[in-house]
Symmetry: C2
Amino acid sequence: MATATLTTRQNIRQTAQKLFRERGYAAVGMRELAKEVGIEAPSIYNHYKSKDDLLREICFDIAAQFFKAFEEVDLNEKSATKKMRAAIKGHVSVIADNMEASAVFFQEWMFLEEPNLAQFKKLRHEYELKFRDIIDKGMKKGDFKTMNLKLVTFTIFSALNATYDLYKTSEKLSPDQIAEDIAGLLLKGLKS
Amino acid sequence: MATATLTTRQNIRQTAQKLFRERGYAAVGMRELAKEVGIEAPSIYNHYKSKDDLLREICFDIAAQFFKAFEEVDLNEKSATKKMRAAIKGHVSVIADNMEASAVFFQEWMFLEEPNLAQFKKLRHEYELKFRDIIDKGMKKGDFKTMNLKLVTFTIFSALNATYDLYKTSEKLSPDQIAEDIAGLLLKGLKS
DNA sequence: CCCCAAAACTAACACTTGTTTGTTTCAAAT
DNA sequence: ATTTGAAACAAACAAGTGTTAGTTTTGGGG
């Protein structure tokens, strides 16, 4: 059990992640959130500036984790195939380690208000470009078959980002195993 | 121009599809919807019983289209590979022909109220089983490599259901071309 | 013990939510 | 020209929205 005793702030955030995922950001009220935490709604504002602030913290924290996971991959791996496999593994691991939060990241980000929304989109685009870059270089070196780059990147991301749904329904598959299997399926499709 | 002159009912539905997709079901109010249609909110209730009724019609209509598209595939194709390719094509075509509605189908269905929600889940599960069945038989016949069935089905669905996002950003790719490319990528990964 | 700040509370504000009621408009059929 | 039913409307309801103001509780440091 990593959960010793949560601070109220941590408790609010964790509960928000759960509720936002279960019922959607717009459908969850501050009073409902507060009740689940065990406090009154106004008390939340001692810890977060606004509802949007809460969503912002959740989304941007996951974004940072994706970038961090990728950084290690980019430094340690050389060939396009190995980089891709490692990137997929890192990405899936972040999702696996933050199931609720990453579900919010993927499904509720559009409720961010400006300027957070614009910054979020920018970050996400940067991250996608990193993946696309690996694939592009792999194609040019002949490791991967030449195909529509945008479509391929999209397909891969879609598959990866559904990992969350997989966890819910699946007979216990480990994150590593899921990452391995998805990587296997997709890389075989990429290979020239 | 297929749009000769829409009935008010059709107008409401089409506008609802657009708004629900753009801003999410919970975030769209009846007054906002009405305004976009050019009427007052209470007038909507001359055409739909409730907000939920609107969502129900959108979601279940798309569901019916998926089933219809699959039916033809199942009758006309024989080998697992051909069936799979045709099923993917049919699925993507339904999305391509109903971009807004299918986006709502995939992202807003959880806002359905009971008993619609339960029925929707059941339908969706049935549809998934049809795909899984093709893959399963393909594996047993040796056309496809034996892998975790649930994971494979999930990965494929995830890729297919992101088609909508692809349309928005992509340099004009035809539905057929998208279906072809995705099918190519995924089937190669499946092949034994 | 007292103080002070962090964090909880109650009450309220201004506004929006989906929906209902009762009435009026309007176009097609008699 | 009159009837009729569909579809529009304005007004309102009860409940819920995020948030703020002002106050009380709480728990650790001097």
